[in-house]
């Protein structure tokens, strides 16, 4: 159950990473910035915003937010400022105490996920839990206002029928070279994963849940022109929503349709907003940026399960540390027959499907 080998990590602060790779990276970044002679615009703006005593703090905070750096290049102080800024803005906006966590990846953790497709009953509780946990837009008036990161694809059970034995290809020419005795299976038409039956599982359907695969070689990261989306050291591919320019190259590159665009200002009612957020995770997004599943960083970095794993009534969803041989996911990889979606594309997902 414990994902984190280091459960005593301080959730509020930003502990320095013990990962030596990271330390090296930080130095080079600092050198680069020094060489560029760049003023820390964001810290200046942040100070200005914090010093502003006017009632219009909201506007000032937003203005400073505009000039902040890419999250990965921020110094510890800049991260703290960005966090404080966001907490102030969100708390004012949603009328409750909102926290924005900036906990880094813990050393020795590589998150992994496994899903038992035989067990899935298609209840879609994971979808709804995900929306509630991760502050997705949930408007009903216009089509683009509703965002769901998980789709449970409802697949028709295909079948071959004796009556259709004589249906062939080509039709009506006397010599049959191919058969049409089947009913196609696995078609996904518009909105088909928004099904809402009275009872699940349905007799004539199978279910295929799908979400971000958190690839080890994510094509979305490669195409991003501003490096706003990247793989965190503990596995998940995340987005700095404040740095995203909304070019949507990542959406085109993703072979799993895991990314969503905020086509308008997200519809997130105050009372439904989840105030426990992570900077790279479920904090409220803004218009024009891309978002996606991040394996509930606000939970998993503190040793909890993602919301979808927690809510699944049949235990089809498993989550854990791939580097820990005793974790549930590692055991599944050792003992079960597993497969990954579109493995031929060499994206190396850390999301596995398996059978009992």
């Amino acid at each position: 159950m414990a994902l984190n080998e280091n459960p005593s990590a301080d959730p509020a602060g930003a502990p320095a990473s013990a990962d030596p790779d990271k330390a090296v990276l930080k130095t080079t970044r600092r050198d680069f910035l020094k060489a560029g002679g760049m003023l820390s615009m964001s810290s200046l703006m942040g100070t200005a915003a914090l010093m502003t005593q006017s009632d219009d703090a909201h506007a000032a905070v937003e203005w400073a937010e505009h000039f902040q750096k890419n999250y990965r290049l921020m110094t510890a102080e800049e991260k703290a400022e960005a966090k404080a800024r966001l907490e102030r803005r969100y708390s004012a906006e949603y009328g409750k105490q909102v926290t924005v966590d900036t906990t880094d990846a813990q050393p020795g953790v590589l998150m992994g996920y496994a899903l038992n497709i035989r067990k899935c009953i298609g209840c879609r509780r994971c979808v709804h839990a995900c929306v509630a946990e991760n502050n997705q837009s949930r408007g009903k008036e216009r089509a683009g206002e509703k965002i769901e990161w998980i789709q449970v694809l409802r697949m028709e059970r295909g079948k071959f029928e004796a009556e259709k034995m004589n249906h062939g290809y080509p039709e009506g020419l006397g010599i049959q070279v191919g058969g049409n005795a089947y009913t196609p299976a696995g078609l996904v038409l518009e909105g088909q994963y928004h099904y809402n039956p009275e009872k699940v599982p349905e007799e004539d359907a199978t279910y295929m849940p799908i979400a971000c695969m958190q690839c080890e070689k994510p094509p979305c990261v490669k195409v991003c022109p501003v490096r706003t989306t990247y793989r965190e050291p503990d596995g998940p591919v995340v987005i700095d929503y404040n740095w995203c320019i909304g070019c949507r190259m990542c959406m085109g590159a993703c072979p799993y349709w895991a990314r969503r665009l905020n086509v308008t200002n997200p519809v997130l009612p105050k009372e439904e907003m989840n105030p426990v957020t992570h900077y790279l995770g479920n904090r409220p997004r803004m218009r024009g940026v891309v978002e996606k599943c991040h394996w509930c960083l606000q939970r998993t970095r503190h040793g909890r399960y993602p919301a979808c794993v927690e809510v699944c009534p049949v235990g089809a969803r498993k989550f854990g540390n791939l580097l820990d041989p005793e974790s549930e996911v590692s055991k599944i990889l050792q003992r079960k027959n597993v497969f990954r979606l579109k493995a031929e594309l060499n994206t190396f997902p850390k999301f596995f499907y398996f059978y009992d």
Binding site: G144, G186, R227, C247, R248, G288, V290
Partner: protein, 407 residues
Amino acid sequence: MLTSFVSDYVRYVLKGGTKFYAWMGSLAVLIVGMLYVFYLQNTDGLIVTGMTSQIHDGLYFANLVFLVGVAAGAVTIVFPAYGYHHEGMHKVAVLGEMLAITAVTMVMMFVFAHMGRPDRLWHMIPIIGIYNFPHSMLGWDVLVLNGYLILNFICGFYYLWCKYAGIPINRKWFIPVVWIAIVWALSIHTVTAFLISTMPARPMWFHSMMPIRFITTAFAAGPALIILIFLIIRKNTKFWVDDSAIKLLTTIVTWCLGIAIFLTLSEVVVELYARTEHANGLYYLMFGLHGLTKLVPWFWSAVVLMVGAFILFLIPRFRNDFKLLTIPCTMAFAGIWIEKGMGLIVPGFIPTPIGEVTEYYPSFVEVLLTLGIWAFGFFILTILLKGAIGILLGDIKYGGAKAVAAK
């Protein structure tokens, strides 16, 4: 001297008859409309367009891709002029450069229209932002497009400046820069093709034929537009574009169009013979998929326009009579605009990588914004061409009489 160049240029360009002002005025109306819908799009968000999370590149991206081709197409004048020392082309090479400047400017505007957060575009500027180079293909595209804009600006305006000042061109550096610009023209369209053809997630685009298809369609659509512009210039100004230039351009358009049709046919055969799921996008485009058929009329009209234009180009009467020549040129331009724009970009998203079949159709906001950007393009093209022609004619000259407007 530079200030006198600017003031003479501006004064010459501003003077014009009723026809000129009516033309510029109606373009300005569309530009104002564009600004309004751009405001809507950046307050309410992209929801005012037809784009969704399923089909997230639409009319803007389609025009962007097409116009990169038009920009590259300018090389069909510059290359014969400097590579083959073609007399007629040499006289008008600078007009091709003006067209390239315009087209690249329009591409940049479509980038702004396309972005979810145009206010954050500075994130791409090196040093103050981050530039994911060399990994991001979009990074490459921005680089080559800006480079092409600068190269054409230098080549075009240095040439005009020398004509204006009456000084000889310094061929020592000018000719190498021209050659760089010629090769660079190929790069902009190749990289734009790579932009979409390097995504295995989109099987319709994921093939190595994309760059050559882009180049051939570019070298058909670009010069087709140039021919039309040249004929308008011949009719409305004192400047005479030689027949030889138009004839050579016609030959280029004809055979690039022919190759483009051949490549499209090859794709159809390869994809539909095997008819795997990867052919679904093309199948949707040609016949519709699961009852969704919005793009089918677009595709077949593109086929009719392109094949029809090709046949007309082969008929000597249409090649040699410059009045009739406008028909196949317009057809080729419109056909390629559809084939390479809506017909290439949109079906790439149908079905989505998880197999969902949805449709896209541009909204009013998108149509008006697109028209506005085209209007802006024609606006600056008119200014650039008028100024360039004034200089070529000697109407704008250093120390010469105060500017006299062209007709």
